[in-house]
């Protein structure tokens, strides 16, 4: 299927979100979803957390594109943990044919030094790798139908993507500057979409609103708001009376002493309060005017079956 005809028209999907919102799981599920039907996607990790390996229960990922999972109907997800140092060496090698000299540079601590002193340089290497994978072709065919980047959290995403501004402060001329300009152009084009993962909780929603404002002001195309861990709506949306509840418990053949009735009643009451808060947070997100998709809370956590369920939900997005 042509990706442009789906709900996910971009080719480089940058997934961000506040810590604890399930950003990595959503990124992995999206890579699975976009690989279905015989396509191939690349899932990239940039923070050295090995979150993808933990999620899929595999050995730590090397700086190498590896088969990660099969997608439905013959698709494939590959994974790559980008390491800034390795990316710099690869980059130098590509342009300057360093060979052994590159290894000497590392021994000197030069690579660590270069990526430490200039955090913008680090980021341009990481995003540069994502750009390279997105645009790579072999025999005039694209190697990856889509690339999904498990990006830094909302608090750092603007700065991470805004590579030109960061490196321009330091590198006024030279190939790093050229490289960062190329990355910046791709990140601001329709090829890219930045998706923000959130929960229906106050802090994540606030950070989502802030991040969307940041990203928009920097000119990055924001894709979807992905609301993770949502629960089905309560059918009746009101708490029954204690007497009604007691009758119900008896009808179902359950104990219905005062303690049980009171306990269940207070649980239901808390639920309603929580739901009301969630509804108002949802309204804040709707106000952003961006396409939104809700993913269900997985009662048994994010295992392989859970990831497939999330991928299914993402694939169904219109």
């Amino acid at each position: 299927m042509d990706p442009a005809a789906t709900g996910w028209p971009a080719r480089l999907h940058v997934v961000t979100g506040k810590g604890g919102t399930g950003k990595t799981s959503v990124a992995a599920a999206l890579a699975l979803a976009l690989a279905s039907g015989g396509r191939r996607t690349l899932l990239i990790e940039v923070e050295g957390r090995q979150g993808i390996a933990q999620l899929f229960g595999t050995d730590p990922l090397p700086y190498e594109e590896r088969h990660l999972a099969d997608a439905p109907d013959g698709g494939e997800v590959r994974a790559l943990a980008v390491d800034a140092e390795e990316a710099l060496l690869e980059y130098l090698d590509m342009f300057y044919r360093l060979g052994a000299a590159g290894r000497a540079l590392r021994k000197f601590g030069a690579i660590d030094f270069a990526t430490t002193i200039a955090p913008g340089l680090r980021d341009v290497l990481l995003t540069g790798k994502a750009k390279e994978a997105t645009t790579r072709t072999v025999d005039q065919r694209r190697v990856y139908d889509a690339v999904v980047l498990d990006a830094p959290p909302t608090g750092r995403i603007g700065r991470f993507l805004n590579v030109t501004a960061e490196t321009a402060r330091l590198a006024k001329v030279g190939p790093i500057k050229t490289q960062s300009e190329g990355v910046a152009a791709l990140l601001r084009s329709p090829i890219t979409a930045v998706h923000v993962v959130t929960l229906l909780e106050e802090m994540p929603v606030q950070e989502t609103v802030d991040a969307v404002a940041d990203l928009t002001s920097f000119g990055f195309p924001v894709g979807r708001i992905i609301v993770n861990g949502t629960r089905p709506p309560l059918p009746t949306g009101r708490v029954v009376s204690a007497a009604e509840l007691r009758r119900g418990l008896l009808a179902a053949g359950l104990p219905a002493d005062r303690e049980i009735v009171a306990g269940l009643h207070s649980e239901a009451h808390d639920q309603i309060i929580r739901r009301e808060l969630e509804d108002s947070l949802r309204a804040d997100l709707v106000e952003l005017g961006l396409p939104m998709i809700e993913l269900p809370l997985l009662p048994d956590g994010v295992d392989r079956a859970g990831l497939s369920a999330l991928a299914e939900a993402l694939r169904g997005a219109d």
């Binding site: 506040k18 810590g19 604890g20 919102t21 923070e47 957390r49 342009f95 300057y96 000299a101 000197f108 601590g109 030069a110 030094f113 270069a114 430490t116 002193i117 200039a118 955090p119 913008g120 959290p153 608090g155 960061e166 402060r169 330091l170 590198a171 006024k172 030279g174 190939p175 790093i176 909780e201 106050e202 802090m203 994540p204 606030q206 629960r231 309560l234 009746t236 708490v239 029954v240 009604e244 509840l245 009758r247 119900g248 009808a251 179902a252 053949g253 359950l254 049980i260 306990g263 269940l264 207070s266 649980e267 239901a268 808390d270 309060i273 929580r274 808060l277 009662p299 048994d300 956590g301």
Partner: protein
């Protein structure tokens, strides 16, 4: 020291502990927060980022005689202060103007951690607090917090910087005149890739910072010793999610290695059913009521309870991964609040839950 991965309620836990220490135990307390939620910051009176502790008004300390002060860390200003302390105003101005300093003081991975440690050192040195509560930065990994200060001082003291310094020391002749041929090759590559302007700026930055190296390292070591002291307690904060619990377990292992005192684990947002009715039973009962008809409200309540009971079981399994690995570490669970905590009353509830065990 409240530590843990992002999004687990670290700031709330730190604020709740500090409030309780002031209200209940009469202690003169300061809480150092890094990036509090807007409404929580407001309720603590933290309306501006001014890098000094402000007394929190409107709390109940009449009886106890305690005080609560709160501050938000201003990373750049703390860095500026360190520079000013270690060097003369003219040189400081030169450092502030350098683009590398500007990049490093605001974006260097680890600067926030280092500056939080620096601020802790300052608060501790003044000796005017009964209790200092530190909310650690929302790092990529909780471990960064322990590693960043050492990494920064190692970096500032490193071989590369020494090499870059050599020309500046020798009177600023050729940039790399005093180093070896292989390094000459390196400089050529660096000049090619990064541009000569960058090297000039970098060299200037390094030369200007040179006078401060000793100071940086010494301070990092001092703070490290504070962290190992008996009067320090680390508190791990986690939510009953696999990632957060794994992070807490890593951290507990590290603290043991570093001989840093771990006081316990606070498990936030734990779901606990109030009724001993398991998930399957209440689900089946709900289905039975749906078949019978006429009990929709009660069926809803049972379904909600079933989901809650199932979640509670899963959370217990996740939490067990920590308690089985660290059976000697006390663990306290804080029940999930129906609404988010952002006022003093909410903090009191959390504080009471942490202290009850």
């Amino acid at each position: 020291m409240c530590c843990g991965s992002g999004g687990v309620g670290k700031t709330t836990t730190a604020a709740a502990l500090a409030l309780r220490a002031a209200e209940r135990h009469g202690r003169r307390t300061v809480v150092l927060t890094i990036d509090p939620a807007r409404r929580l910051a407001q309720s603590l009176g933290l309306t501006e980022l001014d890098n000094t502790p402000r007394q929190v008004k409107g709390i109940d300390v009449e009886e106890s005689g305690g005080e609560l002060h709160a501050m938000m860390l201003d990373m750049k200003r703390t860095f500026d202060d360190v520079v000013l302390q270690h060097t003369d105003p003219a040189k400081a101005a030169e450092i502030f103007a350098n683009p590398f300093y500007q990049a490093m003081s605001s974006t260097f991975a680890g600067t926030q951690e280092y500056m939080a440690m620096e601020k802790l050192g300052q608060l501790h040195a003044r000796g005017e607090w009964d209790l200092i509560v530190v909310d650690t930065p929302p790092s990529r990994s909780a471990l960064d917090f322990l590693d960043a200060p050492a990494r920064l001082s190692r970096f500032l003291d490193g071989r590369m910087l020494r090499m870059l310094l050599a020309p500046a020391r020798s009177g600023g002749r050729s940039m790399f005149s005093l180093v070896t041929a292989s390094f000459g090759m390196f400089s050529k590559v660096v000049q090619k890739v990064l541009g000569a302007q960058l090297l000039t700026d970098l060299s200037g930055f390094v030369a200007a910072l040179d006078s401060m190296f000793g100071g940086f390292r010494q301070r990092a070591e001092q703070t490290y010793r504070i962290l190992q002291a008996r009067e320090t307690a680390f508190l791990l904060v986690a939510a009953p999610e696999p990632d957060a619990v794994r992070e807490a377990a890593y951290f507990a292992g590290r603290l043991r290695e570093e001989r840093m005192p771990l006081a316990g684990l606070v498990l936030n947002r734990v779901h606990r059913p109030t009724v001993p009715l398991d998930a399957a039973t209440s689900r089946e009962a709900a289905d039975r009521l749906a078949e019978l008809g006429g009990h929709e409200g009660a069926a809803d309540v049972l379904r909600a309870h079933s989901a809650l009971a199932r979640q509670a079981v899963r959370e217990q399994q996740v939490a067990a991964r920590f308690t089985e690995a660290f059976p000697q570490v006390p663990t306290v669970s804080v029940t999930a609040q129906p609404a988010d905590v952002h006022d003093v009353d909410g903090l009191r509830t959390i504080g009471a839950a942490i202290s009850r065990s």
